[in-house]
Amino acid sequence: MSVLVYINSNGEKIAKSAFEAVTYAKKLGEVTVVTNGKTDDSTLAQLGKYGASKVLVDRSFEGIDEQQLTRMVATAAEKEGANTIVFSNDLIGKAVAPRLSVKMNAGLVAGATGVPQEDGTIPVNVFSGKAHGFVKVNTDKKIIALLPNSIQPEETGADATVEEFSGNAGDTRVTVKDTKFPEGDIPLPEAELVVSGGRGLKGPENWNLILDLAKELGAATACSRPVADSGWRPHHEHVGQTGVAISPNLYIAAGISGAIQHLAGVNRSKVIVVINTDDEAPFFKAADYGVVGDAFEVLPRLLDAVKKFKASN
């Protein structure tokens, strides 16, 4: 079976979520990747390592306009006779996959967390991670958008062949005026390690406690909703039911009580460490490791311990 994977190659390097999507697709069939932009052939050929046989690249346009990408992916699907299309359910996948679903009359499984079961149904998270469900696709064609960090990229193959093609992407009706990437930040939705702070940290002037530890670990930073609402931290760091939902390998929460709405965004983390002065804070029930103590003392100690660990490893 021919499976098509869209990946974004417009950044400086190809994101891990793209390798995850290719690894996933390889479990379903013979993989062709489609992408656009300027990334050179040898970088694209490396997608073969994760199981792609071929990479189709449309060099006639750059950027992530969702209408252009929809047309390009539809053209590639037709050319390859692919009935299954895989995206990463990142911000681009969330904009393009639904459009494509209508264009191709293909049922969309958004946020898949694993491969199809024996009965063909696909697992997803529902109710903000408080439960999971299995989705059946009723159409012949299907689109699967894979939740980032759900599977590990696997290196199995050799180089892929790279072919230029025309995706008939057409024009964009949206003009990009400016793009800003906050310096040094690791994007939260894709981060493997996250350090997060809540109201227990008392004010923005104390955030170096979170930032220093995150920097030492190479982690992204997050916060609870009242912290973002009070303007202590930017909105995009707010995790939870009404913020970003994340599933990193490690989530360290300091001074966060663990309200049900907060947990809904982080309960898919593989390992949770909670630092809180109150041994009855609800977060301890969801934690793997708990430290009952004052974050103002514990975080600097943890920072020293991480430094020591890194020096000796």
Partner: protein, 246 residues
């Protein structure tokens, strides 16, 4: 400016989730429904703000049964002018988008606003689908929007950053945090909402492309391992050797 805001209900955020009928159905017993927070806090309030600044009208649209009318009245209390309900139980994003598109394509709306996702199925699908049906650009995860004549300028979240884009109306925009501030309906709004028009239209019976066949709850966590606050070396050791995450 004619604005259409898509409103969906969602279980209250403190709802305990459980399933019935051999784990094939969400147990609605005792569940309190609210307006999906993203639809209410950001899409609806932004629509009302734009109307206040530029004139025009805000219509809400919901795909659902009479059980949804209480949520729709809440949206009217916050300040929408009128509401439409497409009379069918919503079961799949494809179906919802097709029904909304079917209504919206006759209405010459300048803006179709919706929340970035619902907090029950978290699909983030309807906006993009709707935009394709209506052949409009789709600005996803917008945090800011200004309208100037027939042009809109928006900030949208992209991976690792923010992009400022400009486009001609009409547009479909999914709204995220930052777009607007939550508004609490006042008594006058609540009274007025009772008599505002809520039109029920027949569904076009759009096909369901997907269905949920089974649900499950996560396996319970094992008890937390407590670490001495004076011994962070032990925590790092455990994270490295036992949890293998650093």
């Amino acid at each position: 400016m004619k604005i259409l805001v898509c409103i969906s209900k969602a279980p209250d955020t403190t709802t305990k989730i459980s399933f019935t009928d051999g784990d094939t159905k969400f147990d609605e017993g005792g569940v309190k429904y609210i307006v999906n927070p993203y639809d209410e806090w950001y899409a609806l309030v932004k629509g009302i703000e734009l109307k206040e600044a530029h004139g025009g009208s805000v219509t809400t649209i919901t795909v659902g049964t009479a059980e949804d009318d209480a949520t729709i009245r809440k949206a009217l209390a916050i300040g929408a002018d009128d509401a439409v309900r497409v009379d069918v139980k919503a079961e799949d994003a494809g179906q919802v988008a097709a029904e909304i598109a079917n209504f919206a394509k006759e209405g010459a709306y300048d803006l179709v606003l919706l929340g970035k996702e619902t907090i029950d199925y978290n699909g983030s699908q309807v906006g993009g689908m709707l935009a394709e049906h209506l052949d409009m650009p789709f600005i996803s995860l917008a945090e800011r929007m200004e309208v100037n004549g027939s042009k809109a300028t928006l900030d949208k979240e992209i991976v690792g950053g923010v992009q400022t884009v400009e486009a001609d109306l009409p547009l479909v925009v999914s709204c995220a945090k930052g777009m607007a501030e939550q508004r609490i309906p006042n008594m006058r709004g609540i009274m007025a909402a009772r008599t505002k028009p809520l039109k029920v239209v027949e569904a076009s019976n759009a096909a369901k492309q997907t269905s949920f066949v089974k649900y499950g709850l996560p396996a319970p966590k094992s008890a937390v391992k407590l670490i001495d606050p004076n011994n962070m070396d032990e925590l790092v050791e455990l994270l490295h050797n036992e949890a293998k995450v650093i």
